[in-house]
């Protein structure tokens, strides 16, 4: 056992003050109309007569059943299973006697409830285990007091407390009422990895049964007596804003209650990093039913006007930053021309090792390649939505959001109420991918509810969702390699930029492995809103970098895996610079595992293979993608994937996530693209925006994890970026053509011949 001081203190496991000292705790109201079905389905298990709250994360029933409140919002990572697993492990309870409920937003009780950046498990790894361990210790203490024996002599395992010498034992349920009255310990013991019984074993998704039977669980499923349906109309183009609206026709439509205008920010409000919103002034239409509101929306007569350019200060994770939002209606054509222009000029030097300029000047040969990728829309299957009910100076919200706490100041300011008067439930999200970190739609729902004085569910149509995006930016990168007359790699130069941000990570591989290295960046301001999209920036850089390394390896006459391993050997033995933010050994580890599992180097007949690897979100992922050409069309047969994300909490669920990331990446690499003309997004639904479907997905995916005892690192994002490179490299093997521009399949000339 490892003795760990509870660094985060008692506040992390705060009890309901009204219930201090134990007693009956009523279940949290999760979704007023959507009682957790799981409890009912456990009909074979008798529900307890009384529950006792041990800490804010768990309560124990008199019969030993345990309810675990899972803190983070869920959008498909299966953290509603894996986070409770962390608690149950240290509580040492049988997984079968665990019921999972979603905690509401409550910063004091549940800390930073943030699902994004692949940080969920990583940030909760210690605190949640401590929540379980402290509860176990309180149960042991309760037994010690009841039996008048020293606590050290009491074991707690599988929901049973035992004192061997006196031959006494009790289930957790029997000691729960006493334990609930005890103070939370200052120090707890955490298990060693080798003693884990729940962590590291695959456990099925606790919500699977509710999902396959269509139970209400998503934000858009929320129902409440007297609830009205709302939709918003936003400007048709980026660079436009509301001028005026004629509501007469819309208001006269059947079922329509009201048409109002809303303003999402109070003047002078200092925006946070996730307050991105290109259309803060909207027309909202409110009525009895979705179809009636949809019909009336078409009758709105709105006048839009061009915005004037402005600068604003945004106070985000990186501190205060000034952003310039220019006026004008932007188009993809002009974007491309501007990117080409900046790519041809000197950028801002972010890192320089050795003498790259001299190496290029003296080079016998220079390999130079440029890569680009378009804007992408998130296109979560569940369009944006939010329920809000403002009553006086209070508001009750139920909305699919990735970072509930960060929208609270905005809601408070916009409604003119106190932050503590905001109550928020966090229902399951039908996909997020970064988009639902930007919760402007929650503010909109709250403002509409306040104006119409009724409970309101705001629903975006697919078209609204796709055209009011906070998109993955469009990017460009040029890589150059200097070779001497003996075909030795002498220097590498990367220059990357985008609209409106640069995707560059100057300190990632292969930085650190080269004596002469230069990294430059540039960016171009824009009024098209952008934000996090699964593995931000990495999702472009990995593809560009890994395609370039593939071409470079070929130029050098080296095997692509050996080439990378050689560079990593150098980075490990004698790293250049001090800022390298990857571990060369772990990086090499995934490549070695992949080499073995994919049987790299064997002749596979008509199968064309592409390899790629990348480090991001503290984890390492590498793929070999196997492709055949069938009737002139590329078909992905298999993807073999190796990941080092430290300890894998729930292996089969982690594999599911890796499979999803791989399919998502192949889909976006093949088809993903949003273009603009005069500020207008040129696609607004799935008839135009091509999504990957089953027929284009790999036939097989094969996921392997590096086994180690390192605390868990990112999992949702790391397998995504490198797949772009693996696909590009396999396509080259299959077609003899290098693919420099995403999407690889488009209205450009066909891929093959």
């Amino acid at each position: 056992m490892t003795l760990i001081r509870t660094k985060i203190g008692r506040r992390a496991f705060i009890k309901n003050t009204s219930l201090a000292g134990g007693g009956l705790v009523l279940g949290f109201n999760i979704l007023s109309s959507c009682k957790p079905e799981q409890a009912k389905e456990m009909a074979s298990i008798e529900m307890p007569k009384e529950w006792f709250e041990i800490n804010s994360y768990l309560k124990i029933g008199d019969n030993g059943l345990v309810t675990i409140y899972t803190p983070n919002p869920e959008f498909g990572q299966n953290i509603r299973t894996s986070m409770p697993m962390l608690i149950a492990e240290e509580l040492d309870v049988d997984w079968k006697s665990v019921i999972v409920e979603q905690a509401p937003y409550h910063a004091e009780k549940y800390g930073f409830q943030f699902t994004g950046g692949s940080q969920g498990i990583r940030r909760r790894w210690e605190p949640l285990r401590m929540a379980g361990a402290s509860a176990r210790q309180m149960l042991q203490e309760a037994a010690a007091q009841s039996w008048q024996v020293p606590i050290e002599e009491i074991t707690a395992e599988g929901g049973v407390l035992v004192h061997e010498t006196s031959n006494q034992s009790a289930g957790y349920g029997e000691m729960a009422s006493v334990a609930a009255k005890l103070p939370v310990p200052d120090e707890v013991e955490l298990k060693e990895v080798k003693d884990f019984k729940i962590i590291g074993e695959s456990h099925k998704n606790v919500d699977a049964k509710s999902i396959v039977t269509g139970k209400p669980m998503f934000g858009s499923d929320y129902q409440k007596e007297g609830m009205l349906i709302a939709m918003v109309e936003h400007p048709p183009a980026f660079g436009m804003t509301l001028e005026s609206v004629d509501v007469t026709a819309a208001k006269a439509m059947p079922g329509i209650k009201d048409v109002v205008t809303i303003k999402s920010f109070k003047d002078g409000f200092e925006k946070g990093g996730f307050d991105t919103n290109a259309f803060p002034e909207l027309v909202a239409i409110v009525g009895n039913s979705t179809w009636e509101v949809m019909q009336a929306k078409k009758q709105l007569k709105v006048k839009w006007k061009p915005i004037t350019g402005y600068s604003e200060t945004v106070n985000g994770f990186r501190g205060k930053e000034t952003k310039n939002i220019p006026a004008g209606l932007e188009s993809t054509e002009t974007h491309k021309a501007k990117m080409e222009e900046l790519a041809g000029k000197a950028g801002k030097i972010v890192r320089k090792d050795g003498k790259p300029e001299a190496a290029f000047k003296n080079a016998a040969k220079i390999l130079e390649r440029s890569y680009s990728a378009p804007y992408l829309a998130h296109n979560s299957m569940e369009p944006l939505n939010a329920f809000a009910h403002v009553v006086g100076d209070k508001v009750k919200i139920a909305a699919p959001v990735q970072i509930p706490s960060l929208i609270v100041p905005t809601i408070a300011s916009s409604l003119g109420i106190l932050a503590e008067n905001i109550e928020m439930e966090i229902p399951r999200m039908g996909g997020g991918f970064g988009r639902k970190a930007y919760a402007h739609y929650v503010v909109e729902a709250a403002l509409i509810s306040q104006k119409v004085n009724a409970p309101v569910k705001l629903l975006y149509t697919r078209e609204d969702d796709m055209t009011n995006g906070i998109y993955r930016p469009t990017y460009h990168a040029t890589y150059r390699a200097a070779l001497d007359e003996n075909n030795n790699l002498m220097a590498l130069h990367v220059k990357a930029g985008g609209i409106p941000e640069s995707p560059l990570f100057a300190n990632r591989f292969p930085a650190g492995a080269l004596d002469n290295y230069l990294a430059e960046e540039w960016s171009i301001d824009s009024n098209i809103s952008i934000g996090a999209f699964r593995a931000p920036r990495s999702n472009f850089m990995a593809g560009a970098e890994q395609a370039f390394l593939d071409e470079l390896a070929e130029t050098l006459g080296k095997d692509p895996i050996e080439f990378r391993l050689d560079l990593l050997k150098r980075a490990k033995k004698d790293p250049v610079g001090e800022q390298n933010d990857y571990d060369a050994e772990r990086y090499a580890g995934v490549l070695e595992l992949l080499h073995e599992k994919a049987a790299w180097g064997q002749d596979n007949g008509n199968v064309h293979r592409g390899i790629s690897a990348y480090f991001c979100h503290n984890s390492y992922a590498a793929h070999v993608l196997d492709l055949t050409i069938e009737n002139g069309k590329p078909v992905v047969q298999n993807v073999c994937c190796a990941i080092d994300c430290g300890i894998v909490v729930n292996p089969d669920a982690a594999k599911n996530m890796a499979e999803g990331a791989i399919i998502d990446g192949i889909g976006n690499a093949f088809f993903g693209e949003l273009t603009f003309k005069d500020g207008i997004p040129q696609k607004n639904n799935f008839d135009q925006y091509q999504m990957i479907r089953m027929a284009d997905a790999p036939k097989e995916i094969d996921v392997h994890f590096v086994q180690n005892e390192i605390a868990p690192t990112g999992m949702g994002e790391p397998p995504f970026p490198p797949i772009f490179g693996a696909l590009a490299n396999a396509l080259y093997q299959a077609t003899g053509l290098r693919h420099y521009q995403q999407p690889f399949v488009s209205d450009r000339p066909p891929l093959v011949g």
């Binding site: 999902i211 396959v212 269509g214 209400p216 499923d221 979560s380 499979e659 399919i663 889909g667 097989e700």
Partner: protein
């Protein structure tokens, strides 16, 4: 507004709605059968798939006035206890990620197996190609359909 008597999941339901209202919204807004999901509204994503006389249809473009006497089945009515072979296979393979598309996937798969109890891989791909899963659970969906087919046939 007009009154419609609908046979859904073996029960009769009366609704008073605009005749052009798509079944999707009749189900979700008026009958509170919210298992059927909205994803695109233009018959492109399959989230809203229901059965009409046993055939998979997209309810987002199916007007309530077109239903008449036909039997409607939604995910809520696919089985009494969530134990349709397709649902069981889904649980075994642990298919879902976010879960939003899954009811539609399951309804499409169940109708496929009703028509074709022994589909080949390419028949599965063809039948399921109208259902988008943004989370990318396609390999598991295919496995679950294959498993359900084996279970149904054995």
């Amino acid at each position: 507004m007009a009154k419609f008597n609908l046979k859904i999941n073996g029960k009769n339901h009366e609704v008073d709605v605009d005749p052009s209202t798509p079944m999707l919204w009749v189900l979700r807004d008026h009958l509170k059968l919210i298992g059927t999901k909205y994803g695109c509204g233009i018959a492109q994503c399959g989230s809203c798939t229901i059965h009409l006389n046993g055939l998979a249809v997209r309810s987002c473009m199916l007007m309530v006035s077109a239903i008449g006497n036909q039997e409607v089945t939604t995910i809520e009515g696919l089985s009494e206890n969530g134990d349709h072979p397709v649902q069981k296979a889904w649980l075994k393979v642990d298919v879902p990620q976010c879960g939003y598309c899954q009811a539609g996937q399951i309804m499409t798969a169940a109708a496929l197996l009703e028509q074709n109890p022994n589909p080949s891989d390419s028949e599965i791909e063809m039948a399921m190609n109208g259902n988008i899963c943004r989370c990318g659970t396609y390999t598991r969906i295919k496995k679950a359909v294959q498993l359900a087919a084996t279970d149904t046939n054995s």
